[in-house]
Amino acid sequence: MEMTGAEMLLEALAREGVEVIFGIPGGANLPIYDTFPKFYPRIRHYLARHEQGAAHAADGYARVTGKVGVCMATSGPGATNLVTGIANAWMDSVPIVAITGSVIRPLIGRDAFQEADITGITIPITKHNYLILDVNDIPRIVREAFYIARTGRPGPVLIDIPRDVQQERGEFYWPERVELRGYRPPIYPDPDAVAKAAQLIYESERPLILAGHGVIISQAFYELQELAEKANVPVITTLLGISGFPPHHPLYLGMPGMHGMHWNNLAISEADLLIGIGMRFDDRVTGRLKDFAPKAKIIHIEVDPAEVGKNVRPAVALVGDARICLQHLNRLVQRRERPDWFAHLDELKREHPSLAYPTETEEILPQYVIDQIYELTGGEAYYVTGVGQHQMWSAQYFRGKKPNSLITSGGLGTMGFEVPAAVGVQVAKPGEMVWAICGDGGFQMTLQELGMVAEYGLPVKFAIINNGHHGMVRQWQSLFYRGNLVASPLQNPDFVKIAEAYGILGLRATRREEVVPTLQRALEHPGAVVIDFQVKEDENCFPMVPPGASLQETIGLPKEYIELVRRRQEVEVSR
């Protein structure tokens, strides 16, 4: 069939199952925008207010659907504005396809108006990228791009299409299959390695599972639980692994690492076996690498061969899809009772409480707001966070009931992720509750995406944990820079008025007893809500592994907080 390049692109996207595109038009992609009406409602376009927002929205959409998210921008500044969003998807292995218009072919390489070498710029932050110079290549390249983005270790792919290619006519040919001789992601683990892993697990007296994003990406929820229960091994989840394992499960231990549970950091240091599943032993997890898990052998289950042996040397590696690897492994693992290990873990938990905060305050504690969000939503929502202290508390206190319901920027730590990612999540899950737990700093980086919230009637609830600071920066400055608070205090606008300016309900809470009623009001309101929670300004997030320190050197909760836990324990015992 003959069509224009723009039509070919949208036809190919539709065939790939794309229903939603987040983007912003401009001179170099107008032929595509001109063609959108023909494809409506098969493909719906959401107009972002900044291309970074479009990319994060596609990212959020992809994380909760497992489908490839699509974002679109014009050449030059439009394309470069996508870069943060693409890098974020790259670091967190999120499948997105970014489509940029580019200057017409005769002008490429001539510093034309709004020309940027976006394929050059994005080489280090994409799995692959394409500059399409022949209109007839469009369907094949779209197919390849989607295949690359979602298979193996997923990630972003960028397609750059000059405007004249979009306008040119060509023959639409849809290839039956993708042929990429240089791309063969592993899927099935080596059977010998599986057998050896099962043996190591059985022999281990003090094993721990470290489950990461790979569990969620490969949807290995059931298999992970089966492994944990069948082999009788406790489960720790990394930041991005949270919601890959039920938080209320008796084998669940929470998050490790820089702001992880103190007991986990100590347990990792004592374990004789770590089973890393779909995680990459990131420095935020390991602390000082040379002192990480000194007594443990490591089993690494990972789809990206380059991650195996990158940071730690595993005794056995199962290289393949996490879910398939676990299916194979689960057939061989055997139960073993480990009463001493479990008793010891219980003792570590008792000795080093990591979840506690004073509740009888007049001020609002940020932990309290987050805790109450989980409480009052019954864990039934999707929870999206920004980056900073509120993110770490959201991870620590996580009590979501849905698999894959914590959406957060891990690898890149991108402030401003929260607002647009929540938009993407809500677009993907129209009937579901979406809560964005925002920093007052991060919210201001992308709050213009409230424009999408208002325009498309998305009922996202935004809880701004307003501590009047770049809280995490303030924490580092107060702990490691002699309290020299340079550029961490924020002079904030009136967030309620900002919400109202977008036609969104704005609420505010300034005292502790207002928190619950305000959350209830937000829950009752059918549409979007922005809540300004004015919280204690100088609350620090603990436990904490100081930068460069080992997990053994974790700083626990403040003494007064631990006292609170002790008193509560005593009350319980005396009952």
């Binding site: 394929t119 799995k127 295949y147 690359i148 299959r177 993708v178 240089g182 063969r184 899927i187 990158k310």
Partner: protein, 182 residues
């Protein structure tokens, strides 16, 4: 002279497409791999180029191979340092000389089984092929006459015997259920 054991020889089959070198260079730069030399040219198969990389083994050569293998344009890549290979490099060396000492240079050239490929009243260009040690040795001898400049290709390497360095697997894509699995 370089200690050969400190270097890894890696050979790769890559798509012959614009931007491939850029992608490879980007990985080196980002990951801080020190590339000693890189030689690239067409392979026996149209559309594919073959590369020989020599990397400083103070790096984890395994990471170099795996990171480069992640590139879609890298069809196959392997570290052949511990295999039975032949490895050669070519150099062109422009040496200052005149009628008086030209015969001395020719003697050296003959001993090394090198060639003189250009002669002018004040210089000759010597072409020499061999392993890096031979080229280094020759350079040392010619230095005394005044080397104007030298250009080297970097190492190219190949397995000995009839084995192909990159047996292309025909099944490729089919081995991976792909679409359905994910």
């Amino acid at each position: 002279m370089k200690d050969q054991r400190r270097y890894h020889t890696i050979i790769a089959l890559v798509e012959d497409r614009p931007g491939v070198l850029n992608r490879i260079a980007s990985k080196w730069r980002q990951r801080g791999f020190n590339i000693e030399s890189l030689a690239v040219g067409h392979s026996e198969t149209p559309g594919l180029s073959r590369m020989t990389l020599v990397v400083d083994a103070s790096h984890d050569a395994d990471q170099v191979v795996k990171q480069l293998d992640k590139l879609i344009d890298v069809v196959d890549i392997r570290d052949v340092s511990n295999e039975d290979i032949v490895a050669r490099e070519m150099a062109l060396i422009k040496v200052r000389c005149d009628a008086g000492n030209r015969s001395h240079i020719i003697e050296i050239v003959d001993i090394f089984r090198a060639n003189i490929i250009d002669v002018s009243p004040e210089s000759v260009i010597v072409e020499v092929t061999g392993d890096e040690g031979k080229i280094d040795a020759m350079f040392e001898l010619l230095k005394d006459y005044g080397v104007i400049e030298m250009v080297r290709t970097g190492r190219v390497a190949m397995l000995r015997g009839a084995a192909a360095s990159h047996p292309i697997e025909e099944e490729g894509y089919e081995r991976y259920p792909g679409q359905e699995t994910w």
